[in-house]
Each structure stands twice: as structure tokens, then as C-alpha cells.
Symmetry: none
Subunit: 210 residues, 4 copies
DNA sequence: AATGAATGAGTATTCATTCAT
DNA sequence: CATGAATGAATACTCATTCAT
């Protein structure tokens, strides 16, 4: 076995741990998660988890970090392919929606962490959050400068976005368990994205004078 | 001491427990909360908590129930004082914002509970949630019937509302801990309400033809 | 209400407590029994139990005492109506069998107490036990003197008797829960008494020379 | 240390737990026993008890199972060395007596369990009980077929046996604590076995016609 | 790197007993 | 006598973490 294979193997193990950890932490939260359960789902011995990562809180922070970093990278990259502010905003929204839809564990974990005041954000996680906020800010500023958007407060847009898709995602089980009465429909993901895009654009677009 | 005082005393003890429980559960979640801590903050013997309420999960459910019931009652009552759909919608939004602002523990608790899939909602809590959804639904329907609102999906409006104010509330500590760079402003509560009202109304109001 | 009625009422309450206590102690043992359960079954407030009796151990001892005292009284009285040693022995055996059959809670309680080394026998309970042993002893001695019984050790006879009927009684639930395979029959109470009388008499009767 | 030693070590720990558990359960019963006490006497950390066995009730059931299984094995084996029904019956009786004498904790535990209705017998424990009953049944049937025993009910013989030796064993402390008056002798174990053998044989042997 | 065993510091819950009224 | 409330001392069980091999 070559040295590279060796490192690969280690990387694979760590990945398995992180995947299992995201699952368990999102289901149960930091306090509720059990190290035994994470190790079991990762298919490794519990002591190995300590060997590779080093403890519950370190593992939790690492999971958070990976998620936010991936989101920041993804948004940064995708936004480059858009040209107008409207396109960029839509790209940003769809990116958030896509991450949430692809893995519903993620909004659960991020929301939990926000609720607990971001106690476990590492410095680099904070930097990635700021990076995302700056992107949104930039899009809105550009739109405002070009006269297509009214002036608004970027953080509100960001929160509305996280809020809507986060809530849509986490409220899923609830809607299944308790049958809501007729007249109250909850949209599926695709429709929700379209509807939300429309609402946001309507809310910040300059009214066109003709 | 009169008989009334006597009965009051019991109610007072239970109230103290519920207040303390909201605090601790919102800070630490169901799993993270410590019964000892709740009893301590309520100023009672731990066993009394079991005597009056009956265990951690029952206590948690009761706290959730009280919050949602109070919200449903409050919205139901206030909405009656409004006449037009726009006024009603604004009343609803300000009501949610008001509850959140009055006690920032509440959004934390409710968000946590939603994330965990509403496992601990009692049937009456579910009924109260449905009640609120029906109110929002009614307002939007009325507006649509009267031609002032476009047709939209009530649950999205509800979730945007919960999402924005919930997020504004829970992201507070985060903003304090990590100083955001200039250019990214987060509005204070009053401004956030106004801004959000404007956005929502803009997003669903029929464009007036003249 | 007269003073007599008053005392009657108290006696009734105490009786209810004792009956409930026998039930619960026999089902669960001293450690397993719950004061709340006893009070509930007696239909009284828990604090009243303390007022009337004074605590768990005192209650337990009192129950034991009443049972043994009643047994001693009953045997003493019935034995007088028998004349020959054989009749007396049969009377004694049937008396034990009768007490056990009448209230299956009793053998459970007495056996439990014997196992724990008689820790909770009061002095008067011990005296009553000795009284019973002396009766058995007397019957066998008389039989031996008259040449109808061989010499034997009374305590063995007493223990065989308690053992057989106690076991028959307590093994009831077991036999019901697990269906024994054919070929292993357990006699009903009436047959058991007859069979046991026969065996005991056969075992100690002098062989008659003709 | 060899691999065998390693596996032995685990077995040793479990054995220590089982020995300590038999002690404590027999002294205090299932409800009265304290896990801390068992762990202390086993010389292990309390958590290891849960790691290896899995809780109070599982431990209790395991102890019961081991005892009954050992008894069934022992009787099955020893009976093979006997030839006549009389010899077999005596072997069976001495076996029961031997187990009881060797470890007086055992009758206490078994009696307690019988009193509580065999709630904690595992299926395999029930099978072992049936195995023993079948042996007794077989001996008596053989004796009856060969004309040396009268027809009788095996379960009564079994219960007399358990009853006598169980009672002799558990009544020991009682006899020591309260000095019985002269004239009431309780036999020591050796004499009790002989006396009981004689009585049982007398009771079921066919009278020989000459 | 891998694993079964070990540990200590919790943590929810129970319950006999007492108190205030 | 009667009762609901209060208390403190247990007690079974858990779990993150470490150790020996």
C-alpha cells in the first residue's frame, strides 16, 4: 500500500465520520447526539473517532465549518456565471435552496447552531459567513447602483432566504405527521423557489416608469 | 389566608416552573436542559416539579403549549380590531414581531422544536398552530377576493414572517460576538418590522391600474 | 356521633390500611411496596397512614403480627376439638392449608419475611410462632407416647407443611403463565391437602404389627 | 498475555458480577438490591456492569438463569450414576440439598422469585425447570412401573423437597436470632437430609408383602 | 490504526416522610 | 381527622472520554 493510499484511507475514514456526525447532530443537536451513535453509523470504533478528530465539540465544529465553507465556495463560484443583478440574486437564492434541498440535514444543523448563539463557530466559519453576506450585499448594491433595485438592507434579504428555505425544509416532517385541513397548502420545493424569487424581486425592484 | 389565596399559591408555583423552564429550554434545548437548573431558577425543590408537572418531557410540552396558545389567542384578538386586509396583515406581522421582541426565549424554543420535527407538540398545540395558519389564510383570501392582494400561498407568508423575526432575534448574540465589517448593517427591531411590512405588502399588493 | 362510633371509625380506617398493606406488601415485598399505593388502595390520604400507623416498617410489622397471631389463635382453638393425635395432626395441617387457601397473599408475605431472616418480626410475633411450634411438638409427642407415631422432629413436619402449601400457593401464577408439558400435573388445593395428609401420616405412623 | 487469557479476563469480570449479584439479590431481593452495592462487591466500576450485562433486571434474570441451569445440569449428570429408582430419588434429594447447603444464597433467591410469580424467568430458565420436573417425574414413574413406589404426584415431591431444604436454609438466621425454648430442636443439615430421605421413601414405597 | 474494556462525573426520577393549613 | 404541598436523600442508568493491548 502506497503512502498516498494510506492517506486516502484516512481521508475516507474522516469523511465517513463527518457524514455520520452531520446526520446525528442534525437529528439530535449537540447535546442530544451520542458519540456511540456517530461511531456506529460511521462504521468505526468509538476510540478511533477520538484518535482522528478529538472529541465531541471538535467534531461538531468541524461539521459546521465544512458546511459553511462549502456553501461559501459554491455561491462564490456560481455567482460568477451570472451577469445582471437580477440573475445574480436568483443564482444566490437557488444556491441556498439547492444546498438545503440536496441535504435537509444541513438547515437543521445550521439553525440549531444559530439558536445557540453560534457558540461553536470557528473563526474560519465566521469568515465564510461574512463572505456570503458580502456577496449578497454586493449584488444589492450593484442593483441599486444600476437603478434596478431599490435600496434595502442585505441582511434582511439573506435572512428571509435562509428563513424561508430553512423553514420549508424543517417543517416537512410536521406537515406529514399532522394532516393540515384543506385550504392550507404547503408548496413543494420547486414551486417554493419560484414563488420566493418572484416575491423577492417584486419587493426590491424599482417600479418601472413608462 | 383565604381559599383563593391558597389556590393562587399553587398556580404561582406552576407559573414559576414554567417561566424557568422556558428560560432553560430555550437556552439549552430539551436534551441540554437540566431539571436541577430549572428547579433552582424556579426556586423550588426538584421533586415539586415532578409533583406538579410530571417529568422533563411533560414540562417541555407544556411550555410549548402555553407559548403557542398565547400567540393564537393574542393574534385572534388583535386581528378583530383591524378592518382592511392590509391592516389585518400588518397587525398579524406586528403581533408575531411583538411576541418575539417581548421574549427572545420564545423564538429559540419554537425553532428548536420545529427542527426536531414537532415531536413534542401536544394535540392542542397543533390545533393552535392550525388556528394561526387559518387566520393568515383568511386575511390573504379576503385581500384576494377584494382585489387588493394577488393570489399567494399563505404558508409562505407565515414562514417568511416567522423566519425573519425568528432569525433577527436569534442572530442577535452572533452579531454581538463577531463584529461584522462595515457595510453590513443589521436593522434594529423597529426598523426591521417596518421594512418587512413594506416588503411583504409590496410583494402581494395588486398593482393599481389608473 | 358517639365516642364509640368514633373509635369504630378509626378501627375501620386502620383495618382498611392493614388490608391494603397486606395486598401490596405481598405483591411487592417490603422494599418494593409503595406507601402511595397502600394509601390509595386503602382509600385514604397518605399522611393519614402516618398519623394512624407511623411509617412503612411499623406498618409491615403490624401486618405480619396480625397474620401470625390469627394463625396461632385459629390453630389453638381448632385443635381442641380433635381427640386423637392423628386427628390433631390433620386438623393442624388443614388449618395451615385453610389459611393459605383463604388468602394467598399470606403465604407470600410470610415467605418473604422468612427469607429476609425475620428482621421484622416483633417479639409478640415470635411468641406466636413458638406457640404454633409447641402445638405441633405436643401433637407428635402425644402420638409418640401413645405408640401411634414414630419419634420425629416436629420442626421438619412444620416446615414440610408450610413448604408444601406455601409452594403450592405461590407457584400458581407460574403454572398458569408457562404451560407445562403433559405428564406433569399439579394438583388442585383440595387434592393436595388429602395427598399431603396421607403422605405425612404414612411417614410417621408406627407400622402396626398384627 | 495470550489471547485465551484475554478472553478469560472478560469471563472473570462477568463471573465476579454474577457472584456479587447473587449475594446482594438474595439478601435484598430485586427491588431492595442496590446496583452500587453489587458493583462494589464485584470490585468493578458501576458502568462496567451496564456495559457487560445491561441493567438491573437483566442481571437478575441472568443470575436466576445460571442457578437453575447449573441445578438442571448437575441433577441430570448425577442421576445417571444411580440405578434403582430409590437410588435415583435419593440422588435427586441429595442434589437439591447439596446445592442449597453449598450456597444458602440460592434458596433465598429462588424462593423470592417464585413468590413474585416467576416474572423474571427467562425462557431458558423455564426450560430448565421443566427439565428438572421431568427427571423427578421419570424417577417416580419408573418406580411405579417396577412396583417399588406407589403412584403419586411428582410436583408434590418436588415441592416438598424444595420446601424442606429451602425452609431449613432460610429459617437458619431466625433460629439464631430468637433462641427457641428447649424441646424444639431444628436438625442440622446432614440429619435433615437423612430424615427427609427416610420420610419420603416411607411415604411412597409399596408395602412389601411377604 | 484499531479495539474492547474501564471510569467518573453526571442526570432524571422516585419515594418515605413531614409540614402547613 | 384530613389534605395538598414540600423536601432530601437516594438510585438506576448514561455518556464523553481514556486506557491497555
Amino acid at each position: 500500500m502506497s503512502n498516498t493510499d494510506y492517506k486516502e484511507k484516512q481521508g475516507v475514514t474522516i469523511d465517513r465520520i463527518l457524514v455520520a456526525a452531520l446526520e446525528v447532530f442534525s437529528e439530535s443537536g449537540l447535546e442530544g447526539a451520542r458519540i456511540d451513535e456517530i461511531a456506529k453509523r460511521a462504521g468505526i470504533n468509538k476510540a478511533m473517532l477520538y484518535y482522528h478528530i478529538g472529541g465531541k465539540e471538535a467534531l461538531y465544529s468541524e461539521v459546521i465549518h465544512q458546511i459553511i465553507h462549502h456553501a461559501a465556495e459554491s455561491i462564490t463560484k456560481n455567482i460568477k456565471e451570472a451577469t445582471t443583478p437580477e440573475e445574480k440574486l436568483v443564482t444566490y437564492i437557488r444556491n441556498i435552496a439547492g444546498i438545503v434541498e440536496e441535504n435537509p440535514k444541513i438547515p437543521k444543523l445550521i439553525l440549531r447552531e444559530m439558536i445557540s448563539g453560534g457558540k461553536n463557530y470557528t473563526e474560519s466559519a465566521v469568515q465564510d459567513i461574512i463572505r456570503i453576506l458580502k456577496i449578497v450585499s454586493g449584488i444589492l448594491q450593484e442593483g441599486s447602483d444600476k437603478g434596478v433595485f431599490i435600496e434595502t438592507i442585505p441582511v434582511i434579504i439573506h435572512m428571509m432566504t435562509l428563513g424561508v428555505f430553512g423553514f420549508l425544509s424543517i417543517s416537512g416532517p410536521l406537515r406529514e405527521r399532522f394532516a393540515f385541513p384543506k385550504g392550507i397548502k404547503v408548496p413543494d420545493a420547486r414551486i417554493a423557489v419560484e414563488e420566493f424569487e418572484k416575491l423577492v424581486l417584486r419587493s426590491i425592484q424599482q417600479e418601472r416608469k413608462e
